[in-house]
């Protein structure tokens, strides 16, 4: 059990944010012990919830002055343990920093606090015919600040790009509490260094974004959604290659395999996907309505030529939801099949997907594990999900070994260790698969520039630093 904070410090923090928002009681801290990586439980020393930029900066300054490590935290939905409090750190959470500060529909930018939840932002700007494009699967819970930390993606990033494309500026509270403005929609993005680009995706290690300026897009006029049912993942992947080869750029292309389909159909989320299918492919086009039927028709032809046994088309919004159901509920469904689920996140060159999936199947067989695969077919970002029961320690060992083999395989074919969930705590051990000492040292250098004392979100991303918990 971590010792709580000294009383005088609690009092000073209380003066800054209100005593109610300095959480030190063990029972109130429980919910902050984990994030989406539920296998770990690291109790924080305390949790502080500021409401404004000034409060957040003041809290950081105070804690830094006392030499206390700080971990910034959004909604805690992250899947790599990025919001876990290592070394008895204090969590500074953004739950009360949830206001949209300004909206400029003419310039298609908005300024908001980091605790604004992803879908709430799109809802707020929808009356202006605008939306916020990055759509991670956790978007009904996750925050924009968390998206900034992880450089989140989502199914529609194939066409629209990831979070870093939509952040035009940040107010960053550095580890010592000093506030800096970087970027800005009215500034010249080619003048000076791209510090926004460096900070987005830095997993809360370079400071805490206390204000975020985002770019908005016009809502697409129309959307067409298809669901292709295939005998095998290889067929579905061939359809994807053909669609790209036609020169089409769908907004999203997602594949789930048989293992995942079966888990979904056996659950309360059953979506009507045939359980004897090898794979299901969701393809979505959006944009000007008049061109979409032609795009959808061509994609359908690609699916059929690749051997699809059927292609379903959504005729309205509710049918569209039905076609997406299997994919969107995949993780929730798998979470019900077994007590524990290891969600992996790697990216491989798209053309290697069939080979990689076959080899993952072989690994699953060899370790006697059930693995369901969900992947972003257009960009090769792959989520092999291993079902298990952690109370079975022998099975847990097999899961760990299998997941290491899967990761090594993905890197071997030219991929990387994380496509969107981040390194956090979970994948530090894999960083040396993709980077050598020179690259890791350069990352350490950049981190040291922003946080010379190493007190900000320690134990994340970079390997070789042992983290006492």
């Amino acid at each position: 059990m971590n010792p709580s904070l000294p009383l005088p410090l609690i009092r000073r923090l209380g003066e800054l944010v209100g005593r109610d928002h300095v959480i030190t009681e063990a029972d109130r801290l429980v919910v902050y012990e984990s994030d989406g990586l539920s296998a770990y439980r690291w109790p924080p020393r305390a949790v502080i919830l500021p409401a404004t930029t000034e409060e957040a900066a003041g809290v950081l300054r105070l804690l830094h002055g006392e030499g206390i490590p700080v971990v910034p935290r959004g909604a805690g939905t992250g899947l790599s343990g990025g919001a876990l409090a290592a070394e008895g750190a204090v969590i500074v959470g953004t739950a009360r920093m949830n206001r949209i500060l300004s909206l400029d529909p003419e310039n298609r930018v908005a300024r908001l606090q980091p605790g604004v939840q992803n879908t709430r932002l799109s809802e707020a700007v929808q009356p202006y015919g605008l939306y916020y494009a990055p759509d991670p699967s956790s978007q009904t819970a996750c925050t924009i600040g968390g998206n900034v930390a992880e450089n989140s993606g989502g199914p529609h990033c194939l066409k629209y790009g990831v979070t870093s494309r939509y952040i035009s500026g940040l107010t960053l509270a550095l580890a010592d509490g000093e506030l800096v403005e970087i970027g800005g929609a009215s500034r010249d993005p080619e003048a000076g260094y791209d510090l926004v680009g460096l900070v987005v995706g830095s997993e809360g290690c370079f400071g805490m974004a206390v204000e975020v300026e985002v770019r908005l897009l016009p809502l697409p006029e129309g959307v067409r959604t298809l669901l292709g049912i295939f005998e095998s993942v290889a067929d579905a992947a061939r359809a994807v290659t053909a669609i790209i080869g036609e020169g089409l750029l769908p907004a999203a292309m997602e594949i789930i395999d048989q293992g995942t389909i079966r888990a979904v159909e056996a659950s309360v989320y059953a979506a009507g996907y045939p359980t004897d299918a090898g794979a299901a492919l969701v393809v979505e086009f959006d944009g000007t309505d008049a061109g979409l039927d032609a795009d959808a028709h061509r994609a359908e032809a690609c699916c059929l030529s690749a051997g699809a046994r059927e292609v379903r088309r959504a005729r309205d919004a509710s049918e569209r939801m039905a076609l997406w159901q299997g994919r969107k509920k995949a993780f929730g469904a798998m979470g019900r099949v077994a007590p524990d689920l290891l969600v992996q996140d790697a990216t491989v060159p798209r053309t290697k997907l069939p080979e990689v999936l076959e080899r993952i199947g072989e690994i699953a067989h060899r370790y006697d594990l059930t693995i369901g695969n969900v992947f972003h077919a257009g960009d090769g970002n792959l989520h092999p999900n291993i079902l298990f029961d952690r109370r079975d320690t022998e099975e847990l060992e097999r899961v760990e070994t299998a997941s290491k083999e899967i990761m090594a395989l993905c890197v071997e074919v030219g991929g990387t260790i994380t496509g969107e969930h981040g390194v956090g705590v979970d994948k530090r051990g894999y960083m040396k698969l993709v980077y050598g000492p020179a690259e890791l040292d350069a990352m350490r250098d950049a981190k040291a520039v922003f946080d010379p004392r190493g007190l900000f979100n320690p134990g994340k991303v970079l390997p070789d630093v042992e983290v006492p918990v």
């Binding site: 400029d104 003419e106 310039n107 298609r108 015919g129 992880e150 450089n151 790009g161 870093s164 494309r165 000093e178 970087i182 009215s186 500034r187 010249d188 993005p189 080619e190 003048a191 000076g192 260094y193 791209d194 510090l195 680009g197 460096l198 995706g201 370079f206 016009p218 809502l219 790209i244 080869g245 020169g247 089409l248 750029l249 944009g287 000007t288 008049a290 061109g291 032609a294 990216t347 060159p349 798209r350 053309t351 960009d379 090769g380 970002n381 030219g414 991929g415 990387t416 994380t418 496509g419 969107e420 390194v423 020179a438 690259e439 350069a442 990352m443 520039v449 922003f450 991303v461 970079l462």
Partner: protein
């Protein structure tokens, strides 16, 4: 030993020559063109040990306007050409930094793919230069900027370390994003020797929607309408001044007395499937409430190429950035620079480029102050050595300037790259 002597001992004879093309008016001691990464490392290590700086150069089109502040050699990437890996089905390519965008287009075009980057003089720019400058053309308004599509790059730091940053796949959040730090760092952190980039399928069909007027301010209302339309065009440019005649011929003898040739044009680029292009064109027309002239096929392609290079190569070229809604004032201020200024305005991205042969420092200062008053910034792209705009408070200051300096020093501890560089 002189720089030439040192380098001649390290590289093949044909890779070292004395002198070379001046950089912003400053003459280099030598120009070296290594043909391998090891050669680049040798040059940088020699510079660290010796007493000269290194200025990396691709096409050389974008090195100014401030000259290096000490003895230096130019490290040209002309010897580092070639596509290393191209996987059309993956939409990814790795190429050496000296490959031009034209070279890459030749390789990608037969596969129906392209890099949607259209800064001035794009075909002759190098991929390494694109990465080093992060330069945006009009297509960045819809496709994003080079920094959004550079998946990885290899950088040789000022002290000769080889860093393989990023990777070869589109979705990659492994570690801190040093690729984004390197892109746009303009050769101050290292020499980019190879780049992994994401390509796009070439659109099937494209069209230019054109409006003309006598002066640019007459087109700003239409430009704002397009910028806020529910349709997102591929790009939009507003050009004015000499060279902005879209359809060539000045008024003929039948034109009414006093007719003035159009000196400004608004050109909207739409592309996609033929049905999409037709639908987008009519939606935009309806939304703007004006009759565009439509140009298609090769004529459209030629027009986009011409517009791409407009207002980019006079004696003085200045770039102003601000919010799109404040561009009108910036356009007026830029137009006041001289009687024959060329403008290239990007109403979707809130930037403009002004090019002129003659202007005064006072006029440039006025433009810079207007930009600052509009909450934006003003950058000199090209200028004679004696013309500078002092811009109080426009660069980064305070803690950000410190962060930037410290980052640069981590990558280039001996400050070999771009001696005398101003980072912010």
């Amino acid at each position: 030993m002189s720089a030439v002597d040192v380098l001649t001992g390290l590289l093949p004879a044909d890779a070292v020559r004395e002198g070379g093309t001046p950089v912003a008016g400053a003459k280099p001691e030598a120009t070296v063109s290594p043909t391998s990464v090891e050669g680049v490392v040798e040059v940088l290590r020699a510079a660290s040990a010796g007493d000269f700086g290194v200025v990396p150069s691709g096409s050389g089109v974008d090195l100014g306007p401030v000259p290096p502040g000490g003895p230096f050699v130019v490290l040209s990437t002309v010897g580092l050409k070639g596509v290393e890996v191209y996987e059309p089905d993956d939409l990814t390519m790795s190429a050496r930094a000296g490959s031009t965008l034209g070279d890459i287009a030749e390789v990608a075009d037969p596969h129906g793919q392209w890099l949607p980057f259209d800064p001035p003089f794009a075909p002759s720019r190098t991929l390494g230069g694109l990465a080093a400058t992060g330069v945006r053309g009009p297509l960045a308004a819809s496709y994003g900027a080079p920094r959004d599509h550079i998946l990885g790059l290899t950088l040789v730091t000022g002290d000769g370390r080889v860093l393989r940053l990023g990777g070869r796949v589109m979705k990659n959040v492994a570690g801190f994003d040093l690729v984004k730090l390197a892109v746009g760092s303009r050769g101050t952190l290292g020499v980019v020797v190879s780049v992994n980039v994401r390509l796009f399928p070439r659109p099937e069909h494209e069209a230019a929607l054109v409006l003309q007027a006598e002066a640019p301010d007459q087109l700003m209302t239409a430009a704002r309408a397009v910028a806020t339309a529910p349709v997102l065009p591929a790009s939009m440019v507003l050009v004015s001044g000499p060279g902005s005649e879209v359809f060539g011929d000045p008024p003929g003898p039948d034109a009414s007395v006093g007719a003035v040739a159009p000196q400004a044009a608004l050109v909207v680029r739409v592309h996609g499937a033929p049905e999409t292009v037709a639908a987008d064109a009519s939606r935009l027309q309806a939304h703007v409430g004006r009759d565009f002239r439509v140009v298609e096929g090769e004529a459209a392609a030629a027009l986009f190429a011409k517009l791409r290079d407009h207002a980019a190569s006079a004696t003085v070229v200045v770039r102003v950035s601000t919010l799109p809604t404040r561009l009108r004032d910036a356009v007026a201020a830029a137009n006041a620079l001289s009687y024959s200024v060329q403008l290239a305005v990007n109403p979707m991205m809130g930037r403009l480029r002004a090019a002129t042969a003659i202007t005064t420092t006072e006029d440039l200062e006025r433009l810079a102050r207007t930009a600052l008053d509009l909450g934006g910034s003003c950058v000199l792209e090209r200028a004679p050595a004696d013309v500078r705009i002092p811009l109080p408070g426009s660069g980064a200051d305070g803690r950000v300037a410190t962060l930037v300096r410290e980052l640069a020093d981590r990558f280039d501890p001996q400050r070999v790259l771009w001696p005398g560089k101003v980072l912010t």
